[in-house]
Symmetry: C2
Subunit: 357 residues, 2 copies
């Protein structure tokens, strides 16, 4: 199946609809989200406080359908929101439902006392998926400013050296590097000392540049252990980050949603989680958004995410965004509840990370 050829339109301004139409629209979407079944004029008439006959409702619904907000799966079924309809709903119609006090407490409690960053991220993801009953994703913080705190080198066998970089007071990175020749323990120690003296506290990128400058000088002038230090550091810094770009939890929640029991579709999204490509790109997009961002169905631009919605929020401290988290579920998800939850979780995670620095 191709992606819908028609570009995704902006929904009509809420002012373009009569008060009544808007009200009914809202009811319809809420009802559909709650029940999961196409809702008809009869049901809607009962639901609305307005005393109107189903026939009147039908007229309104026909209008809504003309505007592309709702859609009838077949001649004689009720109506279901379209992507455009959901868009209008989340943008201008819905009223957030603030999380209950217990949930708020839960979120704070879970994330407060966790010293290890990795574990904190896992906990966050687990918690978020649990309270939303959806799949959740937490991006690993991409700290662009990584201050080198300390370096240690330890010789291993076969011209290999274990480099330990301590970054940002917290994070420890181990890298095994292969060197041209074997270095003795004392050489390595000297190299480490040199690097620590020269570069401790600097940003990793600065370190890199500094090293390159050193090398630009006449190599011959450098004494042995400087050379060693540089070789080490170069190799250690070049090593790319581990492929773990984000953490996922609650994938199984998606299987429990009968909405899309289409097994092949499920398989595809699970693959997407594993592949970490499309999902990561999507999260990257959301990194620049100011607050919560919602991708509905095809809006994401990724085929696998058709029929799914993604709600994301960047997290960090103040205006420094360092990562994104979010949930993934069926387009028919309780946005009113989910959006504030994602928002809050992002804020609390940001705060928790800040205290760790």
């Amino acid at each position: 199946m191709y992606m819908s050829g028609s570009p995704i339109h902006r929904p009509p301004a809420p002012g373009a609809l009569s008060e009544r139409a808007l009200h009914l629209f809202r009811l319809l979407v809420e009802r559909y989200i709650a029940e999961g079944q196409p809702v008809g004029s009869r049901t809607l008439a009962r639901e609305a406080n307005l005393t109107l006959s189903p026939a009147t409702i039908r007229n309104v619904m026909a209008d809504l359908e003309d505007m592309g907000l709702i859609h009838a799966p077949h001649t004689s079924a009720g109506r279901v929101p379209t992507v455009l309809g959901y868009r209008l709903f989340v943008d201008s119609v819905m009223t957030m439902r603030v999380p209950s006090a217990e949930v708020v407490e839960r979120i704070h409690g879970d994330l407060q006392h966790e010293a290890d960053v990795q574990k904190l991220l896992h906990k966050t993801s687990d918690m978020l998926s649990e309270i939303t009953k959806l799949a959740s994703v937490v991006m690993i913080p991409r700290v662009e400013q990584r201050a080198l705190r300390q370096v240690e080198f330890l010789p291993l066998s076969d011209n290999r050296v274990l480099a330990i970089l301590i970054v940002n007071e917290q994070e420890v990175q181990n890298r095994i590097i292969h060197t041209a020749r074997a270095y003795s323990a004392s050489e390595l120690e000297q190299a480490a000392n040199y690097l620590n003296q020269a570069f401790a506290g600097r940003d990793l990128m600065q370190v890199r540049e500094g090293l390159l400058r050193e090398m630009a000088r006449n190599r011959a002038e450098l004494d042995r252990h400087m050379q060693a230090a540089i070789e080490m550091a170069e190799k250690a810094l070049v090593a790319e980050k581990s492929g773990d770009e984000y953490v996922v939890s609650g994938q199984t929640n998606l299987m429990a949603i009968n909405d899309l029991s289409n097994i092949e579709k499920l398989r595809q999204i699970f693959e997407a989680f594993n592949q970490k490509r499309d999902i990561l790109h999507l999260l990257d997009q959301a990194v620049n958004a100011h607050g919560v961002q919602i991708f509905i169905g095809e809006e994401s631009g990724y085929e696998v995410l058709n029929d799914y919605s993604v709600v994301t929020a960047p997290y960090g401290s103040e205006d420094k965004v360092i990562g994104v988290l979010g949930v993934i579920g069926p387009t028919r998800m309780p946005y009113e509840r989910v959006v504030p939850l994602v928002d809050l979780t992002a804020k609390v995670l940001g705060a928790a990370l800040k205290t760790l620095t």
Copy 2:
């Protein structure tokens, strides 16, 4: 659903069956594994080189059914192997199919040049699931003999200390420990020095015991940095291992198997993968087996694994078993092909790990 009340019987000795019956049984199982549909007397008659009428086959099949080896889903369907049938098949009937040269090469190639242990395990799991088209599990090596090579302590803020243990030439473990008071960098250095001198090369358990002995002496006699060293080491050693007990890949392969498109069952097994409890226990059981071990359906003893089979093999060097790997798939899996693959993979992984030590 309860677990079958009847205990799992041993299958009849292959001698208990006539040559012919055994032959037909083998054909039936092979056919069923290949096609996934109950196989009837007619099909079997065609398949067998013996020139026998379907009626004769039927008699034989009736016998096999009496023995509990096969079973008819309903009156007029063909027969399907029972758990007992599979047992007999894998124990005494099937002939292993050796992996093709390309596959063998692939396995060696993939695992040869990977220096990082964690990555190696991931690669192994990925590869195994890919070539078997099943889900695969690789247990993290539980090195009972962990020789301490070096210790480093680095002060962090707030009475926290980062302990870096280098174990077994390769493995690096970082632990953040909370201490009763703040220690200065030099104190920590002295503590590390002490520990390194006293315990480098020893097994972690020995270190533990040694420390306890030290503490048994009159505490007052110990000078400050010894105390510090002991406090550090105690905390660092006590810290439990991270919860990552094994690596899983190819879970999505299970979804593609129409055999069990029962979505709820799938959900449960995915949960089991995440939970890492039942699966881990099962792997632990297999750690003591000499070679490949096969758990068919309910044999595993874990409800979630009904309808699934697990093929495991311990890996390590010589008689030192350090871990287990395996695959999980439907009971109807191509054992002839899978068993040798699991076996080979375990051997190659063991070898690869050995070169890393």
